[in-house]
């Protein structure tokens, strides 16, 4: 899932259908019922309630729903049947925040197969995800995938896919275990709570990314992961953070033992795309997000002396070798023969200008080598072992969407 960075600060929201589909087989009551169930699907997971507002009474509801055609006074004109189906506005203080628009030129259906039209309930659940603060997800089963995926089934029994549940609970916390509030329409089947998961709350303290001092940083398939304690942030190739709020280590890296709460170093192995997370004297090997059998392995298996740990690991594209750094020394590991090259460890001063004991080292998407330490980074042009003039640079503004004057401890030299 991906968060937009905005969410509602209250747990009860009001909604109203301001305009209904023209010439649709769906009655106004059915449309209102479907909206109710689509909102409830989200509310159930986080303990939020959604109340239908009476027209022209009191203040405007947060979520105003319209069925509109073509240009309708926002920047997302509809395009007739097919193409774009609907959109919604993220939470915020602007009057349009939370509003949800459906293309009135679609054939909206309920309880039919795909061929009859577009399932209004499925699209409504997706759009209300935006209205509550979620962005599009690439997870295969997520309702927040941008493409229409067909009918979502019985609205009164619908339950969000796990990816979407986790996303909304990151924003609003998990709903109370008490029975579901009295339904205002047809009875709902309260979904069972997933067992064995600790309660999460959006107010739970999370580390500050702008203070730097990451445990590990790795470029994994074009995205840069910043690890700090049991959390990590992801920076997309576009330079955009997936979310300013960090994700939980153990929810993403499936199979990583709970007792591993710090990742010392991480890198993506170019030879087979596996991702290696180092912690203490061990490392864990992942294929995508899943832990591979045989993990953990000992650093001694890579040829490091017994008891040794690493500060940083990276694979240098110029020679395909893997560099394991500890303090002011480094070992060069040959993936092809699966052993450390003779003559190592050597002094890190090969990398002219680089800090000793870096937090981590990673390769950028254009082949540059980046050393990170504290709140600063050193850039080495592709193939170069001399830090570029002006290094180190402050990390926060360049990598993590932090203000230039972000407070933080100076990098240890």
């Amino acid at each position: 899932y991906a968060l937009t960075g905005s969410f509602w600060k209250k747990k009860q929201l009001f909604w109203r259908v301001r305009s209904f589909p023209q010439g649709s087989a769906l009655s106004q009551d059915i449309v209102r019922n479907l909206m109710h169930y689509a909102l409830t699907a989200w509310g159930t997971e986080v303990g939020m309630t959604f109340q239908e507002a009476e027209p022209r009474v009191g203040t405007e509801p947060e979520i105003l729903i319209d069925f509109a055609r073509a240009y309708h006074k926002d920047s997302y004109p509809f395009d007739g049947p097919g193409g774009t189906l609907a959109h919604a506005f993220f939470p915020g203080d602007h009057p349009i925040s939370g509003d949800t628009h459906f293309d009135d030129e679609e054939v909206w259906t309920f309880g039919e197969s795909d061929s009859g039209g577009t399932d209004l309930f499925a699209v409504a659940v997706h759009e209300f995800g935006h209205a509550l603060g979620l962005a599009h997800s690439s997870a295969p089963n997520s309702i927040m995938r941008p493409f229409y995926q067909g009918p979502a089934g019985d609205p009164s029994k619908y339950r969000l896919p796990p990816d979407d549940r986790e996303g909304i609970q990151q924003l609003y916390g998990k709903g109370p275990n008490s029975p579901h509030p009295e339904p205002t329409r047809k009875p709902l089947v309260p979904p069972p709570q997933p067992p064995g998961q600790p309660p999460d709350s959006p107010s739970a303290p999370v580390p500050d990314r702008c203070s730097g001092n990451f445990d590990a940083i790795a470029n994994i398939r074009g995205e840069v992961f910043f690890f700090k304690g049991p959390w990590f942030w992801r920076l997309q190739p576009s330079g955009q953070l997936v979310s300013p709020r960090p994700a939980k280590l153990h929810r993403f890296w499936e199979g990583l033992p709970e007792h591993v709460v710090t990742v010392d170093a991480a890198y993506s192995r170019p030879s087979d795309g596996r991702i290696l997370l180092f912690s203490g004297r061990q490392f864990w090997v992942f294929q995508d997000r899943q832990l591979e059998a045989g993990s953990p392995k000992l650093l001694t298996e890579l040829g490091l002396p017994p008891g040794e740990v690493v500060d940083a690991v990276f694979s240098w594209p110029q020679n395909g070798k893997t560099y394991l750094i500890r303090g002011e020394q480094y070992w060069r590991f040959d993936e092809a023969v699966h052993s450390v090259d003779p003559g190592y460890p050597k002094n890190l001063n090969l990398w002219e200008g680089a800090p000793s004991a870096p937090d981590d080292v990673t390769i950028g998407n254009k082949g540059d080598t980046y050393f990170f330490k504290g709140t600063e980074y050193w850039r080495f042009a592709p193939g170069s072992v001399v830090a570029e003039p002006g290094s180190p640079h402050p990390m926060g503004p360049d990598w993590l969407d932090c203000p230039p004057s972000a407070p933080g401890p100076p990098a240890p030299r």
Binding site: T4, D74, Y76, F90, G92, H136, S138, P140, Q236
Partner: protein
């Protein structure tokens, strides 16, 4: 060999990639040509997002996915997202 996409397909695809946040919006005061590398990277990200094979090419599956009914909001909330928030 994958057949070359038509000029119209390329044009529509660039428009699609821009609209959904994979490519930066054109500068209002200048014509903008996308470099082949930038276009290939954008296609790859789109393919990853859509669960397609990452070829970086406007292949048949990619073009078909671009024609699927979908939500109007961008997938990559970069500049497009900021524009939307400003309004």
């Amino acid at each position: 060999r994958t057949p070359e996409p038509s000029a119209q397909d390329v044009s529509l695809s660039v428009d699609w990639l821009t609209r959904y946040g994979y490519l930066p919006p054109p500068h209002p005061a200048q014509a903008q040509l996308q470099s082949p590398e930038q276009l290939r990277d954008a296609i790859k990200i789109m393919q990853r997002f859509a669960g397609l094979k990452e070829t970086g090419l406007m292949d048949e599956a990619t073009l078909a996915t671009m024609k699927k009914p979908r939500c109007s909001l961008p997938d990559v909330l970069g500049v497009a997202g900021l524009v939307r928030r400003r309004r």
